[in-house]
Amino acid sequence: MGAAKIELLEVRKTYGGHVALGGVTLSIAAGTFVALVGASGSGKTTLLKAINGLAVLDAGQVRIDGEDAAGVAPHILRRRIGYVFQEVGLFPHLTVAENIAITPKLLGWDPARIAARVDALLDLIALPREVAGRAPAALSGGQRQRVGVARALAAEPAVMLMDEPFGALDPITRDALGTDVRALHERLGLTTVMVTHDMAEAVLLADRILVIDDGVILADGPPQILAASADPKVRALMDAPRRQAVRLAERLGLGA
C-alpha cells in the first residue's frame, strides 16, 4: 500500500453535445481526502470516473503516481483502484464473502490469502463474520454499503474513489459510516476522492474541497479557506451547513 498521487491534465469529456468536463487540470497529493461537490450534472461523477477509466476521455491525460493511466488496460487499472458506488452494486448471485473477494480473485491471489483478507476486512468495516455466507439481499442498507467499501478495499488499493457512497443511508448510519471511512483513510494511508452533494459531510470529512460547476473547477481549497471565498456560488454552498448548524442550535436551545 502507500498513498498515490493523482494528476489530471486538461481532461475533457462530452456526452452527446453536453460538456461534462471542460478541460480540468488538477493535482491531488498522496494521502489527501478530497471531496467533490457541486450541483447535479456539474460533472463531478464524470471527474471521478475519469480517474479509473470508467469514463473514456475525449482529450487530456490522467496520471496515477506519475504513470499515464491510458498506458494500462482499463481492467488492470481498476483492480488497483477501489471504487464505491452510490447504488452499491453488490453482485446479487454471490455471497458477501464472494463479493469482497472478487478483485483479489481476479488478480489471482491464492485462496488462503483471500480468505484471510475477507476476515480482516469484515473486522475492519465492523461487520460480524457470520454475514460472510449471506446473500447481499439479506443485509440492511448500511451493512450493504459497508460490504461495498470492503470490496473496494479488498485488493489493497492506494486510491479509493467514492461516488455519493452514503446518499441512500439514514442519517445515523451515514454519520457512523462517514467517520469510519475517514478513519480507514488515515489508517490505510489512502488517497481518497469522494463525490457528495452534502456540504456538511464534505466539510466534516475532507482535507480539500473541489467545487465543480459546469465541467470546470470553480473553487479549490481546504474547508476553512473556501468558507471565506468571495465567489457568490461558493459562498452559497459553504453557507448551507453553517446556516443549518445555527438553526439546529436555535431550535434545540443550544444557542450561544
Binding site: H75, R78, R79, G89, F91, H93, I102, L106, R151
Partner: protein, 515 residues
Amino acid sequence: MSPAIAAAWALLPDYLGWHVLLSASALVLGVAISLPLAVAASRSPRLRWPVLAFAGLIQTIPSLALLALFYPLLLGLSALVKSLSGHGFSALGFLPSLLALTLYSMLPMLRTATAGILGVDPAVREAADGVGMTPAQRLFQVELPLAMPVIMAGVRTAAVWTIGAATLSTPVGQTSLGNYIFAGLQTENWVSVLFGCAASAVLALVVDQLLGLVESGFSRRDGRLIWGGAAALVVACVVAVIPVVHVDAKASYVVGAKNFSEQYILAELMADRLERTGAKVSRKEDLGSAVAYRALAAGELDVYVDYSGTLWANVLNRQDNPGRAAVLAGLTTELKRRDGVIVLGSLGFENAYAFAMRTDRAQALGVTSLADLARAAPSLTLGSDLEFLSRPEWKAVDTAYGFHFKAQRSFQPTFMYRALSGGEADVISAFSSDGRIAADHLTVLTDPKGALPPYDAVILISPRRAGDRRLIAALRPLVGAVDVAAMRSANYSVDRDQDKLTPAEAARALEKALR
C-alpha cells in the same frame, strides 16, 4: 391392452427414439446459435432489431412449410457439394428436419436471452467494470449467471415447441412420433393418432419439468438442482435414443411409401419379402409424391411403388397419352436413361384417378361420363385430394372437357369420401383401386376422350440397387401378381370403420391372395 394400442406400443421405441434424437439435437444446436447471437444483440442495438425480426419472421412461417422448404434447398446444396467433392449428402429425413426445427426453436431463446442480459441491473454491470473485470469476465461471471433463470425459461418454451413441431418431420421422411399421427389420419386409425398426440405431449411435459428443475436451480442458486435436472435430461435422452442407434446400424434396405393406405400395404408387402431373405429393412413412410421419386433417384430409398401416369406427367413432364403399354415402355427406358432408376414392372393393377359420384346422384343428373359431368358441373361441387388440382392430370382433363364447377374443395383422401357421402361434394377425384368405391357403391365416370393417363402400379428400384440380385429376386414375383380386386379388398380392410386391419396385417392377407 387392446390390439390397436399394443400395435402402437410396439412402434414406440423406434418413433420415440428418433423424436428425442431429433428434438434434442435441434435444441442443442438452437442454444448453441441463439446464445452467442443474443449476447451480440444485447451488446449492439443495431444488431438487435434485425436478429429479433428475423427470428420472428421464421416463426410466422408454418412449421410444416418450413420443413418442406428445406428439402429442395438441401437437394440443391447436396447436388452442388457432390459436383465439387464427389460426395453428396441425404437431403431427406434427419437433416432438413434438424435445420427447420433449429430455426424454429431460436425465437423464444433469442428473445428471452437478449431480454435477460439487458435486464441485468446497470449498477451491477458498472460494478463489474469497477472491480476490474474484462468484458468477457463480466459476461460469464455476472451477466449470464444473473440472466440464467430468464434464459432457461426461453429454453423451456423452445423445448416444448420443438417437441410438438418435430411430429411434422414425418412427411419429409424423418421417423418421429408424427408417424402415429400421419399414418393414423390416412387409415382412420384414431387410436394411433391419439397415441401419437399423447406420447408427444407426455414427452414435452417431462422435458419441460426437468428443464424447470434446472431453471429453479439457477434462480435459487442451488447447484444440486441444476446438475440433477441436467443429468436426468441427459440420461433420459440417452435411454430413449439407444434403440434407434441399434436398429439403424442393422438396417440395410429402405422401403418407401407415400401417404395413403395402398402405399403402406405395398411397402409392408415388399418389406416382408425382403425380411424373409434375412435382410434388415427400414421403412420411410408418408412421403410426398415428388419427394418419394427424388429420394429414390438420390439413393435415399431403395424401393417403392409409384404409378405410371404420375411418373409420366410429373417426372417426365409429358402431357400426351399414347396408351397403357406405350407409357410403361417409355417410362422403363426414360427413367433408366435419365436417372438410372429401374422400373421392375407393373404389379398388375391400376390406381388411376377416376371421377366418382354417388350412384343415386349420378342417375338423377343423368351423368355417366366426364362429358356429361362437364355439362352438369356449374351446379356441382368437386372434392379432390390435397394435390390433384395442382397436378398436370387435372389440367389435361380440364383442358379436354372444360369443367366449370360451382366450387372446388380439397380434402385428406379419407375425408374426401366422407364429404361425398355427406353431400359436401357431388363428385370426387377417387382412386380406382380404392376399396371404398365398391363398398360405398359409387359410380365411376367414363373418360371417352382418354384424357386421364393410365396409372399402372410399378415397382421402382434405386440406381444403387440396380444390380442387387437378392432385392430383385425377392420382389420380381410381385410383378403381375396383384389384381385390382385383391388390392381393393386389401385397401378396404385398412380403411373401413369396423374390424380394421393394420397395413402389415393387410399385407400378409394380400400375400396369400397373390396370383
